[in-house]
């Protein structure tokens, strides 16, 4: 009962059983929301975009091809929704620095919060293409072939691009961490 695949559910939606989309919503709305939050740093906008993705799934359900991974199709729609709604410039807006605002806590928590905050700021400074690669590969845990299908490239290119994105993130992270942190790193530059 708990094992209906994403693909079979989407096929049911395509054939007119719109209720099957509710199961897909319950399965995927949270990861999708986090995808958007990582991409644009705005919770309200991200909720609007999640809603938009599921409406587009209904609208374009006839275009779903069962031989293609459902998540690849879904993130393709998500990318289009994001691009359509805010355009290239706002797409690269920096994530808000929420963690520092509430940092008046125990020292360990503070350190952890600062690390998280720096990491988020580093993510926000990454070029959008690199940030998206990290979100898909690390936060959404998509397989290489799924990412390749979303981005329209081959698996080898995905691996190399993810490596370069992590490397770029590392450089920004250590710059933001200040000289003391940079002393410990061997990879800057």
């Amino acid at each position: 009962m708990y094992e209906a695949s994403d693909s079979s559910l989407m096929q049911a939606v395509r054939e007119g059983d719109l209720g099957a989309l509710a199961i897909l919503f319950e399965r995927h709305h949270r990861p999708l929301f986090n995808y958007f939050v990582h991409m644009n740093g705005n919770r309200d906008l991200s909720e609007d975009l999640v809603q938009d993705v599921f409406v587009r799934m209904l609208k374009y359900r006839q275009s779903y091809q069962p031989e293609r991974a459902f998540t690849a199709w879904m993130y393709q729609i998500a990318r289009n929704a994001q691009t359509d709604s805010i355009g290239k410039r706002k797409f690269e807006v920096a994530l808000p620095d929420r963690e520092f605002a509430s940092a008046n806590v125990m020292e360990e928590n503070l350190k952890r919060k600062q690390e998280i905050s720096i990491l988020k700021r580093a993510m926000a400074r990454l070029p959008v293409e690199k940030r998206e690669l990290l979100v898909l590969s690390r936060f959404q845990n998509l397989k290489y072939d799924e990412i390749a299908s979303i981005l329209g490239c081959d698996v080898g290119a995905v691996k190399v691009r993810v490596y370069r994105a992590v490397r770029a993130l590392g450089q920004i992270y250590f710059e933001l961490s200040g000289p003391s942190a940079q002393g410990g790193t061997r990879t800057a530059g």
Partner: protein, 256 residues
């Protein structure tokens, strides 16, 4: 393997998916200090990314989704393909005459129609509650399934699909809390013979004393004497927890 080739393998190394090239990759790292340092430093970055906490959307998101899904279903139900004769002028003239006649009679039946529209809307809401309950009960996460059980309270007591999903949950769910919540939710359905029989049947399938006791309490509460054989079987079974047996004997006395 040279440095460039090794770097194309870094992501697999961090993800733990290096397979065929593992030996060559390890050999390169052992001999190249720069690659070794970079692989390890960036591995920390990779791990830190994975530890970033997820954010939860607001409850409004779910409400919005189900509202729009309901709207889509309603629209699709209305927009059936029209027959060609619907657009024919002769038909349209006749239809206009009929509408005029119907308009005269409308005042007489308006009140009745309002009632029917309200009951139609209520039916739609019930239908969406059923959909939410059924969808959540099929999720992997126990907290989602618990929410699904809570939605089951909001459907009509004659909803056989939700009843069936709850009984399946009681019989098969891997999480005891979810099973217990489902047993509680079944109280709503105990006027239904399927619900009562399902509870009695579920008794034999349970291995959790907590759930067994909850089911026994519910059977006693609705005074379902037809469940006596199932309870008797529990008393005589060698594998049942002594406290459950004791409770089963008490239940049998209550049902005399």
């Amino acid at each position: 393997m040279n440095c460039e080739q090794a770097r194309t393998q870094f992501v697999d190394y961090w993800r733990g998916t290096l397979e065929d090239t593992r030996a060559e990759f390890d050999a390169h790292l052992a001999s190249c200090e720069h690659c070794r340092a970079e692989a390890e430093d960036l591995k920390d970055m990779w791990s830190a990314l994975g530890a970033l906490p997820d954010e939860d959307p607001s409850l409004r998101l779910r409400a919005r989704f189900y509202d729009s899904l309901r709207e889509w279903r309603r629209r699709e139900a209305i927009h059936r393909p029209a027959f060609w004769w619907l657009r024919h002028p002769a038909f349209q003239t006749a239809a206009a005459m009929l509408i005029l006649a119907a308009g005269i009679g409308t005042g007489y039946v308006l009140r009745g129609r309002e009632i029917s529209e309200v009951s139609h809307l209520r039916g739609e809401v019930d239908n969406m509650r059923q959909l939410v309950a059924l969808s959540l009960l099929q999720q992997q996460g126990a907290s989602d399934r618990l929410r699904g059980v809570s939605y089951a309270y909001r459907v009509e007591p004659d909803d056989s699909q939700v009843l069936s999903a709850l009984l399946t949950t009681v019989d098969h769910d891997s999480n005891v809390d979810v099973r217990l919540a489902a047993v509680d939710a079944l109280k709503k359905f105990t006027n239904n013979p399927v619900g009562r029989n399902g509870l009695a049947r579920a008794l034999a399938k349970q291995d959790s004393p907590l759930v067994q006791i909850a089911i026994l309490d519910e059977i006693v509460e609705v005074h379902d004497k037809t469940a006596r054989p199932a309870i008797q079987a529990l008393v005589t079974s060698p594998d049942v927890n002594p406290e459950v047996k004791q409770h089963a004997q008490w239940a049998l006395r209550q049902l005399q």
